[in-house]
């Protein structure tokens, strides 16, 4: 018998990624999940309570009401991104790929907000929308958009769309450029209009990118926190109308003003957020990516 030597080189090549990923991602994740299964005893010591924290989060009214409110707001926040950010990103990419004059300039301008700090974005938009001295006042737009329960969340979502629309645009643009010119030429020779070329050739060929953009938007939105915190504060006012899972988690874990932080319930909220994101990504992987592969092969 000629046994092969143990393939040490595989271990060596995997080690850096595995070690770093374990230390900085997997361990904190598991530790946070473990924290969510514990709580503080009256003596102050940590005790294992199983799934009790999750039960509290879903059944006790003081926890479940803000939680469902935050989740529902988060879904609205996500839907606005899906319905506005990604179609607009696709539209911009489709326009830019036609190589009209000044493409590079537009591409750069539209992408610029993406690389700015969210704190700056929040500050700028707070000034623009300010009913007291906002720049839109002279043209009659002086509603307190960020101060009304009905408009605060959509306004914030649109600010976020404005900031991030450059990312789907770039991804779509890269995908559109990769489509061989011959396909489009052949279609045009056959008498297809630009509209037909887009719907029948370009869009089907960039479906993998559509999926990636959707899942990136999903993960990004259900992890969102910074813009709301920067513009509305941790209480995500008015009356929690702009509270999403990220801000709800922040208040719970770290506390706010006189509210003491509760690391155990905070970790529980984080656990639920992880679950939501996991389910979303799984749906994408199983439902979308697999089907795409079937089409491609």
């Amino acid at each position: 018998m000629n046994r092969k030597p143990f393939p040490w080189h595989i271990v060596v090549f995997l080690a850096p990624a595995v070690l770093i990923y374990t230390a900085f991602m997997i361990y904190p994740l598991v530790d946070s999940l473990w924290l969510s299964l514990n709580n503080k005893a009256s003596s102050g010591a940590q005790v294992f309570v199983g799934l009790q924290n999750y039960g509290t989060l879903f059944s006790a009214e003081t926890w479940s009401k803000p939680f469902w409110n935050a989740l529902w707001n988060n879904i609205k926040f996500f839907l606005i991104h899906m319905l506005v950010q990604n179609p607009v990103g696709l539209l911009l990419a489709a326009l830019l790929v036609t190589r009209i004059r000044g493409t590079a300039l537009y591409r750069t301008l539209i992408f610029t907000p993406t690389i700015l700090s969210v704190v700056i974005i929040g500050f700028i938009w707070k000034l623009i929308l300010n009913p007291v001295w906002g720049v839109l006042n002279p043209i009659g737009i002086n509603q307190p958009f960020l101060g009304l329960e009905s408009t605060a969340l959509p306004t914030l979502a649109l600010i976020s769309v404005w900031q991030n629309v450059g990312i789907p645009m770039m991804l779509f643009l890269a995908a559109l450029i990769r489509i061989p010119e011959e396909l489009m030429e052949a279609a045009r020779v056959d008498g297809a209009s630009a509209w037909t070329v887009f719907w029948r050739i370009q869009l089907p060929l960039i479906f993998p990118t559509v999926g990636i953009v959707a899942v990136l938007t999903f993960v990004g939105n259900f992890n969102a926190f910074d813009l709301i915190y920067a513009t509305q504060g941790a209480l995500a006012g008015p009356n929690f109308a702009s509270d999403i899972l990220g801000t709800f988690f922040f208040r719970t874990f770290f506390g706010y003003q006189l509210q003491p932080g509760d690391p155990y319930m905070g970790a529980t909220v984080a656990g639920v957020m992880l679950l939501i994101i996991l389910v979303g990504v799984l749906i994408y992987l199983l439902g979308w990516q697999r089907r795409l592969q079937n089409i491609q092969f």
């Binding site: 300010n130 009913p131 307190p144 009304l148 509305q232 006012g237 719970t252």
Partner: protein, 422 residues
Amino acid sequence: MKRWVFLMTAIAAAASLGLAQKTKLTIESWRNDDLKIWQNTILPAFMKKYPNIEVVFAPTAPTEYNAVLEAKLKAGTAGDLITCRPFDQSLELFKSKYLDDLTGLKGMDNYSEVAKAAWSTDDGKTTFCVPMASVIHGFLYNKAIFKELGLSEPKTEAEFLAVLEKIKANGKYIPLVMGTKDQWEAATMGYQNIGPTLWNGEVGRKGLISGKEAYNKGGFLRAFEALAKWRPFLGNGYQAQAYPDSQNLFAAGRGAIYPAGSWDIATFRQMNPKLELGAFKPYTFPSLGITQCVIDDHPDIAIGLNAASKNKEAARTFLSWVASDEFAQLYANALPGFFPLANVSYKVDDPVAQQFLSWRKECKTTFRSSYQILSRNANPNNENDLWNASAQVLNGTMTPQQAADFVQSRLASWYAPQKGNK
């Protein structure tokens, strides 16, 4: 060359000998804004009087202070003197035996019970920090606008509303400069500003803690009703008006009356030195038979003794000095708007600050109803609920009764003495 070395060594030795005789104290603080004031004004005055004690002011950034301090206390590297946040944060430190009991400190009898409450155990028997300063709530107004419209300082609710009505009718200025976007102003400068007069200050506040009073009854409900009357007089788009917006509006002379905390005085002096600032105290309600004014004299900062300090003798000397009139005089003038809490005589140069201070003699004093004990629970949290409810009352999305019931039912959901008062 050799002579030089000898000389230098001799000087160094002499210097270190001189230092060795001095006891060195370090103050932990979050007030890094005040570094200059401590280094140039307050500490030199103390060290002049007690040449054997050297005091160093070592502040940390305000947002990091709590965490840094706790880490230092655990590691045993914290300074001798600890600047104390009010209420539970310092109480926790005392319970964890990081702070010494200062009940018997010389100078402690210079403080009233209200002044000490923020740094005492729940039963009020043990005090562990020497109160340094409080902030007082009231109203600031633009004297030029009042003169132009022929108005005088209102003393009662009816007069207050009449003044606002006149400013509104004139149409040139925003009658009441306050927004609800940041929420806390509605509770702090609104509810907790005019409320104490209605709930009879300490009687009402202690009644809440013992369960005799409730947020949806008596003075606490009336305070929401009184607050709701402000709504027609707030500026256009006040729902999205943040605290800095309000400050800018008032400083720019576009608004007449500004519900204030005393710390705003210094801000306005700096933002617009030409602004003619006036002040009046929270109004009374003769129509309800309430003519005794009560002000919110909110404890903000104190100083305690690290239980692990090696220089307790010197530290106690310093703490007694903090309780003296000399310290009060220095501190009050270095930081107008922060008022020393000791019952000693001191004079503030800023006339508006002086006016705020004079209310302590004319009115009874108390502090914010939610700060002691009642905001200990993470969820629901009484202070956060008051912010939300007060902002909603001003936004018109809750009636005063709804707001009061909301705050009360959530307090009663966890706080045992309130359990019966739904």
